[in-house]
């Protein structure tokens, strides 16, 4: 357990051993399809396929998937409603095609979010970072991103422990105390991150690390059947959308 529900789901997913490139092709295709096809039926089909694949063959807990969509859903609802309000001389009012426009906007966004979430809940970040190196992102940048990924769980652990201790000491019993505790919490996490980085550096330097944190990437074999299925599914969504539209 890492403490982040999406990351935990990715490590436990039935698709964890599938090649990241295969999943990137499928999810990237779904993201693009959700964006460029009409919301009905294109984006709706993308959303259904993404959710069905996640809770079906990928065995992502439906509860985790649904909970993860809360934040994007809140933004999508507020944003889609705001976009269809017109500000005229007579004050604000709904646009004539408000329902269709907000529905289309929400459809694109919810389907795209579901497709990204399918990738996020089936592929741990440590599988995706080597793909950045293959995309010719400089090694130094990939290494910094790898350290961010490894350290953030340590820091999140520290954050929760310190906050628990502060709460037990009534550190969040008023707004004033909450701000003071939050400031102390942020400072403690920052100094701990520096300290942790310095100690890691000293440990690695003692082991002869000078040029980078090179590790052997885990090679997960690509599946021709999975790739074929992905292309067929994407083509079917496009074809259905074209026929219905």
């Amino acid at each position: 357990m890492t403490g982040l529900a999406v990351d935990d789901a990715a490590w436990a997913s039935a698709w964890r051993r599938r090649a990241p490139g295969d999943k990137l092709l499928l999810c990237g295709g779904l993201v693009v399809t959700a964006l460029v096809l009409p919301a009905w039926p294109g984006s709706a089909l993308v959303g259904v396929v993404a959710v069905a694949l996640a809770v079906g063959p990928a065995r992502v807990p439906a509860r985790t998937f649904l909970r993860a969509t809360r934040w994007p859903a809140a933004f999508i609802v507020v944003g889609a409603l705001t976009a269809v309000v017109e500000v005229g001389s007579g004050g604000p009012g709904w646009a004539p095609d408000a329902a269709a426009r907000s529905g289309s906007l929400a459809g694109h966004a919810l389907a795209g979010s579901a497709a990204v979430l399918l990738l996020a809940t089936t592929t741990p970040m440590s599988d995706l970072l080597p793909a950045l190196r293959r995309a010719r992102v400089p090694d130094a940048v990939v290494e910094v991103a790898s350290v961010v990924y490894r350290l953030l769980f340590v820091l999140l652990g520290s954050l929760h422990t310190i906050r628990e201790a502060q709460t037990a000491r009534m550190g969040y019993s008023s707004v004033r105390r909450s701000y003071r505790s939050s400031g102390a919490l942020a400072a403690a996490v920052l100094t701990r991150s520096w300290d942790r980085a310095r100690r890691m550096q000293e440990g690695l330097a003692g082991r002869g690390m000078e040029t980078g944190l090179r590790v052997l990437p885990e090679v997960l074999p690509s599946s021709r059947a999975f790739l074929t299925g992905s292309v067929v599914a994407l083509a079917a969504i496009v074809a259905t959308s074209a026929v219905v539209a």
Partner: protein
């Protein structure tokens, strides 16, 4: 406040990605140069990125009775400078999209432009101006951190207004709409994040003074000569 996946039309998503790219590439070059000259910086930069991510997990009390999350780029811009934050902020956004489902992949460029480019530069500019005008460290930190948050929110509203202009009042009306809707949470959050920044730096000046001196936030303390026994 990140724009969700699929919310921007394809042309806008591509346009903001192109707009953010030079800043992120510049940041990547700064990081590559720093790591080449000082290999140990990899870990410190990684720690800075992880801190920015974790800072967004700290809940601040909000006027609406619930709680909000700081953006975390203001303190980062003051401590590590905006070019580095352009890259670290983009990495943090990618992680937020794939670990928290905040933001998205096609909207990564738009979010990076607001969160990792405009926010840090505006915040750092306010911080430097306040220091140059004779303001102390804490007023400068408050101005820098609060403005970084505000600038991010204004830029995001502008991005949404450009994508969805009002049929009658055009871009200006749409901008007012989005600014007004998100102001309810974002303005109190900017003030709250400014206060958090002050409290953070107040603790750091006591507990981490050598690090702040090394990062150029504080002047090195003058050596005090003590009169020894002759």
């Amino acid at each position: 406040m990140h724009i969700a996946e699929g919310f921007l039309p394809a042309g806008h998503a591509a346009g903001w990605t192109i707009a953010a790219a030079p800043f992120v590439v510049h940041g990547a070059r700064a990081v590559v140069k720093e790591v080449r000259e000082n290999p140990e910086s990899t870990l410190l930069l990684g720690a800075a990125g992880a801190f920015t991510f974790v800072l967004s997990a700290i809940k601040l009390p909000s006027v609406t009775g619930s709680s909000s999350h700081p953006t975390g780029t203001g303190p980062g811009a003051i401590l590590f400078r905006p070019p580095v934050m352009a890259l670290l902020g983009t990495v943090v956004l990618l992680f937020q999209a794939l670990l928290l489902a905040h933001g998205g992949l096609t909207t990564l460029g738009a979010n990076a432009f607001a969160f990792a480019v405009v926010g840090p530069w505006a915040g750092y500019g306010a911080y430097r101006l306040t220091r140059a005008a004779g303001g102390g460290l804490m007023p400068a930190v408050f101005a820098g951190v609060a403005l970084a948050d505000l600038a991010t929110y204004v830029t995001t509203s502008l991005q949404l207004a450009l994508a969805f202009p009002d049929a009658e009042s055009g871009l200006a009306g749409a901008l007012l709409k989005f600014l007004g809707v998100f102001a309810v949470t974002q303005i109190p959050l900017a003030v709250g994040e400014g206060l958090l920044g002050v409290l953070l730096f107040r603790v750091l000046t006591v507990n981490a003074r050598p690090e702040l001196e090394r990062l150029g936030v504080l002047e090195p303390a003058p050596l005090v000569t003590t009169g020894g026994a002759a």
